[in-house]
């Protein structure tokens, strides 16, 4: 995805323009870059430095930065609790990404057959995409309400005692992840179906004649052909999971007993929730998030993308 910017090879403004012309062109170029640079400079680059500054300060009860505490906020992050928080964040991401991509794939694959009704199925399966995280969370809370849950009722019919989905610490993270999977499934289905639609029928036909069996054929031939779509679904789902706030905030508010508190939720909680205004600690956590984000991106682009076959 990151093609190297080509060196100033040309595409000159005007062939043989004079010196003053080149100056004008350079100025124009800088002028055109200004809006983007200012926007990103003020709201992305500068805040990074500000976050570093804030992370070394204490805050009074109104949130104003006060005395310097050096690296104390980062020291607070070197605790088992924060380690558990990070581990939980990664676990949550995995619980979202793996099923969040595989489930739509398992639905998208049969949808490519030329059978009646497939288009209707595709539209129907895409419907969860219409739900924002917050809408999905509220609807699923009603689905799982211990007093009235249709899910629990169904499980009861087959003799299974439903767990306390959102209040059992062993289940809450799984539940929030499952709701996230549901809400990303529509989008990933569309992406993967689009990828599958481009796979050449002849290729499949040839592979079939060679006698490769279905699943093997799927893994060895089809998957590589849709690897750009797969990669895209993995990357966007990872970001969605890593940055999830609405689901956690609405469904469990980080509980029970902190068992759904992820890194982004923790930033929100420390800085803006429960009458907290611990901007210093929240900024330190934000910087950790930055590192996590960059590392994940490095892994995905450095390792995974090598296996992606762009056509």
């Amino acid at each position: 995805m990151l093609t190297r910017p080509d060196p100033p090879t040309g595409r000159p403004g005007k062939p043989g323009g004079g010196r003053s012309h080149r100056v004008r062109e350079a100025l124009l170029g800088l002028l055109l870059l200004t809006p983007g640079l200012v926007g990103l400079g003020v709201f992305v680059v500068f805040p990074l430095f500000q976050a570093v500054y804030l992370s070394t300060r204490d805050n009074d009860i109104l949130g104003n930065p006060t005395r310097s505490v050096g690296l104390a906020h980062f020291a607070e992050l070197l605790t088992p609790e924060f380690g558990a928080l990070l581990a939980r964040t990664f676990l949550f991401t995995a619980l979202v990404v793996v099923p969040g991509v595989l489930l739509p794939l398992a639905i998208a694959a049969p949808l490519t057959q030329k059978l009646p009704g497939m288009r209707i199925f595709r539209t129907a399966f895409a419907l969860p995409f219409a739900y924002s995280a917050s809408a999905a969370s509220v609807v699923w809370l009603i689905m799982l309400n211990p007093g009235t849950s249709p899910v629990n009722w169904l499980l009861g019919l087959v003799g299974v005692q439903a767990p306390s989905w959102t209040s059992d610490p062993g289940w809450a993270l799984v539940t929030v992840a499952a709701v996230t999977v549901w809400s990303v499934s529509g989008f990933n289905l569309l992406v993967l179906a689009a990828g599958l639609a481009q796979v050449d029928e002849d290729v499949l036909e040839a592979a079939r004649i060679d006698g490769a069996t279905g699943p093997r054929q799927f893994v060895s031939i089809v998957l590589p052909m849709i690897s750009p779509s797969l990669f895209f679904a993995v990357v966007t789902t990872t970001l969605t999971a890593l940055q999830a706030l609405g689901q956690v905030h609405i469904m469990t508010d980080g509980g029970p007993n902190g068992s759904t508190s992820t890194l982004v939720y923790s930033i929100f909680d420390r800085a803006f929730h429960n009458n907290n205004s611990d901007y210093g600690l929240a900024s330190a956590q934000g910087l950790v998030l930055l590192v996590v984000g960059v590392l994940l991106a490095a892994v995905q682009f450095g390792v995974l993308e090598r296996r992606v076959h762009y056509r």
């Binding site: 109104l62 006060t66 211990p146 007093g147 009235t148 029970p256 009458n275 907290n276």
Partner: protein, 483 residues
């Protein structure tokens, strides 16, 4: 959020009308200029906490024309509409003198967070509604004029305010804010289920053990052994545990529940709390209580759907319960159950109160905000408020108005709340804990409840963990306010 609409009921008495504009226009210009520091609300609270702002006399309004008062509140729905009606009434009576404009701020958390932001940018309202657990924080913000100061200046008689309600907002013997919407916890029962189970719905359980006994009879299983109705079920809401602490006559935090000085420690890992959590564990293990998170919306739905037969909730939920249970079952109320029959204390009231903002405000605005606050506390205004919203009236004589009597005649369930309040002695324990980080403390408390009930953690261990997790928060807070 959960703390939101919990407490209901208000107050007051005839705060005197005595000093009204006796001192004509003498203090005119002086007062106005004194606090011209509008935009300068910068360095935060630490410096401001020690000295408290003082109230201007009635004359502050003289010659000021119509003073505009902005009031930030968190009353939604029919509560917000009732507040608007009262405000219109006040504005009409004070035409040309005071005009109050309401600004709805979603919920208590958002109101407080907006208030903090506004203090820093000098755009604070003149009057702000803050939830009970924000009391100590508001005092420490040093940005408000204590109601006590107005009472003293006016030599006002506030004896009509229910002392138990005023007690919550009294710290260091100073009434800092005017209680407004007030509520108390009650035990709600499904009377129909009680009759079915052969229990007397007129004698709801009074202790946790009695709840257990009743729940055994109320719990129903189908042929497969699945539970179709639980005897009991309530949210793991920290407020409920705080109530048991008060009923046991114990203090939730040190320094006389934060009333004699700044609290330094929350008493979570007490034998009393351990016993309560053990009870809660037994109830769920035995299949008598449905497990919930800390969000009361879920347990409310379970109660009105008939899935649970008893629940704990605030008086404020009575209206919703009656509406949603209509045609299905009869709702009954009982005193909030004691953890042990020997306990003699009473529950703590909750809700929110009104704070008059002083920082960056001239005397006319402070005074105008007070006049409005005083109006909201009158018996008539409180009767209107109580009957429209279901909050508890803070004024004793509001209960004697015809309006209020009629309303209660239709909702006999509410009388339980009145009796409960009247039989509660005001002590440090029933005043409740005033703590700067009370919102976090409640959250920690709930974590302990969740760990014990859902994870099976040893209650004492869970409570100790929660207590420990608060130590640094309390220390940081106290340090940052210089105490």
């Amino acid at each position: 959020m959960r703390t939101q609409a919990r407490h209901r009921s208000p107050r007051t008495g005839r705060i005197s009308t005595s000093l009204r504009r006796v001192t004509a226009g003498v203090a005119l210009g002086l007062a106005a200029a004194s606090t011209a520091a509008c935009g300068a609300a910068t360095t935060g609270a630490s410096s401001a906490t020690t000295q408290q702002l003082t109230a201007p006399p009635a004359s502050a309004l003289d010659g000021k024309g119509e003073v505009q008062v902005t009031f930030w509140h968190a009353m939604g729905g029919k509560n917000g509409e009732a507040l608007q009606r009262l405000t219109d009434q006040f504005n009409q009576r004070n035409q040309g003198r005071i005009k109050v404009t309401l600004q709805y701020k979603n919920n208590y958390d958002d109101t407080l967070s907006a208030y903090k932001t506004a203090l820093n940018s000098g755009q604070a309202p003149d009057l702000v509604q803050v939830y009970d657990i924000g009391t100590r924080f508001m005092i420490d913000s040093g940005s408000t004029v204590p109601v006590q100061s107005f009472v003293d200046v006016d030599k006002a008689d506030i004896s009509d305010i229910q002392p138990n309600i005023a007690g919550y907002y009294t710290v260091d013997n100073t009434l800092y804010s005017m209680p407004f919407n007030t509520s108390m916890p009650l035990l709600y029962i499904n009377r129909t289920a009680f009759v079915e189970a052969g229990l007397d719905p007129d004698k709801p359980p009074r202790t946790l053990d009695e709840i257990t006994a009743a729940a055994r009879k109320l719990t129903v299983r189908d042929a497969n052994g699945n539970i179709t109705r639980y005897g009991f079920g309530t949210a793991l809401y920290g407020w409920f545990v705080e109530q048991w602490t008060a009923l046991a006559g114990q203090e939730f935090c040190d320094q006389g529940n934060g009333r004699d000085g700044r609290a330094t420690k929350v008493n979570l890992a007490t034998d009393e709390h351990v016993k309560q959590l053990e009870w809660w564990q037994r109830m769920t293990e035995e299949g008598l209580a449905l497990k919930f998170n800390s969000d009361t919306a879920e347990s409310d739905n379970a109660f009105t759907s008939g899935k649970t037969a008893m629940t704990l909730e605030s008086t404020g939920s009575l209206g919703g319960f009656l509406a949603n249970a209509e045609g299905k079952f009869e709702v009954g109320t009982g005193f909030y159950p004691k953890a042990d029959a020997s306990h003699g204390g009473g529950p703590i009231i909750g809700g929110a109160s009104l704070w008059i903002v002083g920082k960056g405000k001239d005397d006319a605005h402070k005074r105008a905000a007070w006049e409005f606050t005083r109006f909201l506390a009158t018996p008539d205004a409180q009767a209107t408020w109580h009957t429209a919203t279901g909050y508890f009236p803070i004024s004793k004589s509001a209960l004697d108005t015809d309006l209020d009597k009629q309303w209660r005649a239709q909702r006999p369930q509410f009388d339980t709340a009145i009796k409960q309040l009247e039989s509660t002695a005001l002590t440090k324990a029933t005043q409740g804990c005033a703590l700067g980080v009370m919102p976090q403390a409640r959250k920690a408390e709930e974590s302990a409840m969740q760990a014990a009930v859902h994870q099976g953690t040893d209650p004492r261990q869970a409570l100790q963990d929660a207590e420990k997790s608060l130590d640094s928060a309390i220390k940081d807070y106290n340090q940052s306010v210089g105490g």
